[in-house]
Subunit: 201 residues, 2 copies
């Protein structure tokens, strides 16, 4: 049974706002692939858009350019080792989904392979062709056209990280195979807290 629920597109940027490492999924003409990416960010709320760095030498980039879309899946703690593994080998010679026993669902808008088991959320993204930035910075821009998240960790447009859902918490790559997960959620929204005692200068 899936715990994934649709995420409204105006909340989609919140899924990647805090910098999680993601799995990028792609498919074209019967081939498919999954790789890890630590470098992504939202660039716009409405329409929801992201930027993600995908090396031009990767098989993923080839499939994305051919199909015009890609999936962004947020692995939970449980998939940390897998994330490191799929980021360390190429899908040109092996179907990593089959190799690692991953059973993707089919994306609702673009038909891309998307991972739910062990993941906190996914985004289905339509590539916005920007040949110069793709070439100069390996940076691909895309519009998020569908999103969903596991309701045990993301609900009503907000993350809910707690001691009961550590396996589903997002992972954040520090480099060299070291990761952190979110810890110590706190609210810092009261701007008055930051004001000096002496008042405005």
């Amino acid at each position: 049974m899936t715990h994934f629920k649709e995420v409204a597109l105006q909340h989609a940027s919140r899924l990647v706002n805090h910098g999680p490492t993601v799995l990028v999924t792609s498919a074209h003409g019967g081939a498919r692939n999954v790789m890890a990416a630590a470098w992504s960010m939202p660039v716009e709320f409405t329409p929801p858009r992201i930027a993600i760095v995908i090396d031009k030498k990767t098989y993923t980039r080839e499939l994305i350019t051919a199909s015009g879309g890609f999936g962004v899946c947020l692995p939970g703690m449980a998939l940390a080792a897998l994330t490191h593994a799929v980021g360390s080998e190429s899908g040109r010679t092996v179907d990593k989904f089959a190799h690692y026993g991953l059973a993707p669902r089919t994306g609702p808008v673009l038909g891309l392979p998307l991972l739910e088991e062990g993941c906190a959320a996914w985004l289905e993204c339509r590539l916005i062709r920007e040949p110069h930035t793709e070439d100069a910075y390996d940076t691909c821009f895309a519009e998020i056209v569908a999103a969903a998240a596991d309701e045990r960790v993301f609900q009503a447009g907000h993350w809910h990280f707690n001691d009961g859902n550590t396996e589903l918490q997002t992972i954040h790559h520090l480099g060299g195979g070291n990761f952190v997960r979110p810890g110590g959620m706190f609210y810092a929204g009261d701007a008055a807290m930051a004001r000096p005692q002496s008042g405005p200068a």
Copy 2:
């Protein structure tokens, strides 16, 4: 006494690899400003380059375009409320450094104002002019030309988050003033862990 030590440029991307929310500092012709940005990412290791989203309507963008550079400072937990506050008002009418009692140091390469007290690290960045992406996605590309970090939390090219340095730990914005800090650092680098028992398919 400062605990900041120079970070080798080949390690600079690690400072922002895990998705921290940052403070963007800027200065031009006697004016200066600081704002918050949740959307940034590395795009290249060598030369170290980042991309960051800075709304074209902000005063910061105006100063950056005029001066050709900006600072990226990583606030620690202690500056979370400040981060939310400076992200919620414009520097056109107030010098936020003076208003919040911030005493920036001068950047070694570009002379930009950089925050150390309460911060985990900073990067001094030279803008790479990309008019199209700046306009279409508010995305600014830049080369990191200098970097430093507080040795109590980043040493020898690696983050060291532990119970003794929570105040210096990076903060990651979830939206709406809610943040998380890094928790539960773990190693997932052994690819073999992710392989199914049955071996390669």
